[in-house]
């Protein structure tokens, strides 16, 4: 297994549960929406942490690049966490428009982020890390989340 294969697949999983949460809240099903959103936010956080605590440090120590692409990705994680907090607040306040608008913003942010990772950063990581334990460690963390 390559280092980033589990993360690649996990992006699709996050997309699916994002769509569930957005659809439920869009219909005014706040109970279903809260459940789906909690699942989505939990999975996204697990994804970010797998990258920040396992993949990025491994890549940085293998290449010596500490302030390059991984730093930009960490910054985008920070922005997405703030958007998640805004969605949670809108959900708590039953603010459908606020939730939908922030969800739309997060979706585009998240998709652009994923594409940058999948097309550029992950291939760089895979070539830098080669056959290592990183992939298995990340798969284990994501399965447990």
């Amino acid at each position: 297994m390559s280092a980033t294969q589990p993360l690649f697949q996990h992006h699709k999983h996050c997309d699916e549960i994002f769509a569930d949460a957005e659809e439920a809240c869009g219909k005014g099903d706040w109970a279903g929406g809260a459940k789906a959103f909690a699942a989505f936010a939990g999975q996204l956080e697990a994804h970010f942490l797998s990258e920040e605590e396992v993949l990025f440090p491994a890549f940085e120590s293998a290449t010596g690049m500490v302030s390059g692409p991984t730093e930009v990705m960490r910054g985008e994680h920070r922005q997405m966490r703030e958007l998640l907090a805004q969605m949670q607040q809108a959900l708590d306040e039953r603010d459908g428009e606020g939730f939908g608008g922030t969800a739309e913003t997060l979706l585009i942010m998240m998709q652009q982020h994923n594409m940058k990772e999948e097309n550029i950063l992950y291939p760089m990581c895979d070539s830098a890390l080669g056959a290592s334990e990183v992939g298995a460690t990340i798969a284990g963390r994501l399965a447990a989340a």
Binding site: P69, V72, E97, I108, I120
Partner: protein, 431 residues
């Protein structure tokens, strides 16, 4: 050099916006021109008014919107570094505006000097644009079919403009050129080699992203652009080689390929994960249905050439392609790009993300949906007006109003950006 993956290479917001804000007004002009001239304009593709209408959409609406979008899309989506985007846009946009208006006026007033002015403006403006953009697309470290298809599209634009310039100079100087054959080759490069090629390149990227669809199958994405390029090249060779029967028959595989792209996009939309519809997804659907109708009509005419004996048949194809496919796709895209651009630039001002208004606060959702419905109504009327000339004036008016509303919604988006920017700056400076 490693890409840094940030949006820092994105141009100043004024670069794409100036093109987006200009585009709809060419649609307004086209609608008003049709309302003014009435049904005779659509009697054939060769009437001066029909040529003016087609070019108001093609080198007015489409070229403005598509070139503006490329300034934004190349750095953000394919990591290309466009050289001094503000300087290039300052130079290119006035030339494209001048070229479009001179060309249209040239058709309407049969004035050679206007054709020559248009040719000079387009050769210079598009020449600089194509050079800068191709350089960015060539140097990027990214890979993938969006990038490759976009490279082909930019080459297609260059060829379409060169052929168009030859035709316009031919008209200006009364040169003896094979006008019909050259025009058929010119429009295949303009609508296929540039327009549809760029729509495909962008769709590979944005359709999965905006609507959470599956990606376009790799085999499809690898095949579509090169195959379209091949077919347009063969089409050109046959028309220029005076092989009329085979040239007409080539319309059939071209139509099939268009249909395949439309059907694939509709299928991806149908099986998407995100169930929410918005103006962008609705616009894309209308565009793809128009493309299917274009393909079906084109295929029918390729099999039975006598169907195109009626000069209105090619006007029908043009109506499906220009307002149907391209105005729809571009309008839908602009409704997604401008709110995201606003958000992207606002969140860079230093305020916490929670203080940055979300994307849905940039243009009122109802304003976009109502404008979309008006566009659909205008499109239906335009298509009907091809066969029922009495409807042409009212169709023109509806199209003008729809494009006016699109332009107005984009002005609202720009005003939202300015208002929120001033609020954020004031709050940041207070902290």
């Amino acid at each position: 050099m490693h890409p840094n993956l940030s949006f820092d290479q994105a141009p100043p917001i004024s670069v794409p916006y100036r093109f987006f804000l200009a585009a709809p007004w060419f649609g307004v002009l086209a609608g008003l021109l049709l309302a003014w001239t009435g049904g005779d304009a659509l009697a054939s593709r060769w009437t001066p008014e029909a040529l003016a209408l087609a070019h108001l959409i093609a080198v007015g609406f489409m070229l403005q919107a598509m070139s503006g979008a490329m300034f934004q899309f190349i750095p953000v989506a394919v990591g290309g570094n466009v050289w001094r985007p503000s300087v290039v846009a300052n130079f290119v946009q006035p030339l494209l505006l001048l070229g479009a208006l001179s060309l249209v006026a040239g058709f309407l007033f049969s004035a050679p000097v206007l054709f020559s002015a248009a040719v000079a403006a387009f050769l210079l403006g598009v020449g600089v644009f194509v050079t800068v953009v191709l350089l960015a697309l060539w140097r990027t470290p990214a890979t993938g079919m969006t990038l490759w298809t976009m490279r082909i599209a930019v080459a297609g634009l260059a060829i379409a403009v060169l052929l168009g310039s030859l035709l316009a100079e031919g008209l200006a100087r009364g040169l003896s050129l094979p006008l019909i054959e050259l025009a058929n080759v010119h429009l295949a490069w303009g609508l296929g080699g540039w327009g549809l090629m760029l729509v495909a390149a962008v769709s590979y990227f944005v359709v999965p992203m905006f609507q959470l669809t599956h990606p376009y199958p790799l085999r499809f994405a690898r095949g579509f652009g090169p195959l379209l390029l091949l077919l347009v090249t063969i089409w050109s060779a046959l028309w220029l080689g005076d092989d009329l029967r085979r040239a007409q028959a080539m319309g059939f595989p071209l139509a099939l390929l268009c249909a395949a792209f439309a059907a694939m996009t509709l299928w991806l939309q149908h099986t998407r994960r995100r169930k929410i519809d918005d103006a962008t997804s609705l616009y894309f659907r209308v565009a793809m249905i128009a493309l299917l109708a274009f393909a079906a009509s084109g295929a029918a005419m390729a099999i039975r050439p006598e169907l195109s004996d009626d000069p209105r048949a090619s006007v029908w194809l043009g109506m499906l392609a220009l307002p149907g496919v391209f105005v729809s796709t571009i309008s839908g895209m602009m409704y997604k790009i401008t709110p995201f651009l606003n958000w992207l630039h606002l969140q860079r001002l230093g305020a916490p993300i929670s203080a940055v208004p979300n994307m849905k606060m940039m243009i009122p959702g109802t304003a976009m949906t109502v404008q979309f419905r008006l566009h659909v109504l205008a499109l239906v009327l335009l298509l009907a007006a091809v066969w029922l000339p009495a409807l042409a004036r009212v169709a023109g008016l509806f199209f003008a109003v729809s494009c006016f509303w699109l332009g107005w919604n984009l002005i609202l988006a720009m005003n939202s950006y300015r208002r929120f920017r001033d609020q954020i700056r004031a709050s940041v400076s207070r902290c």
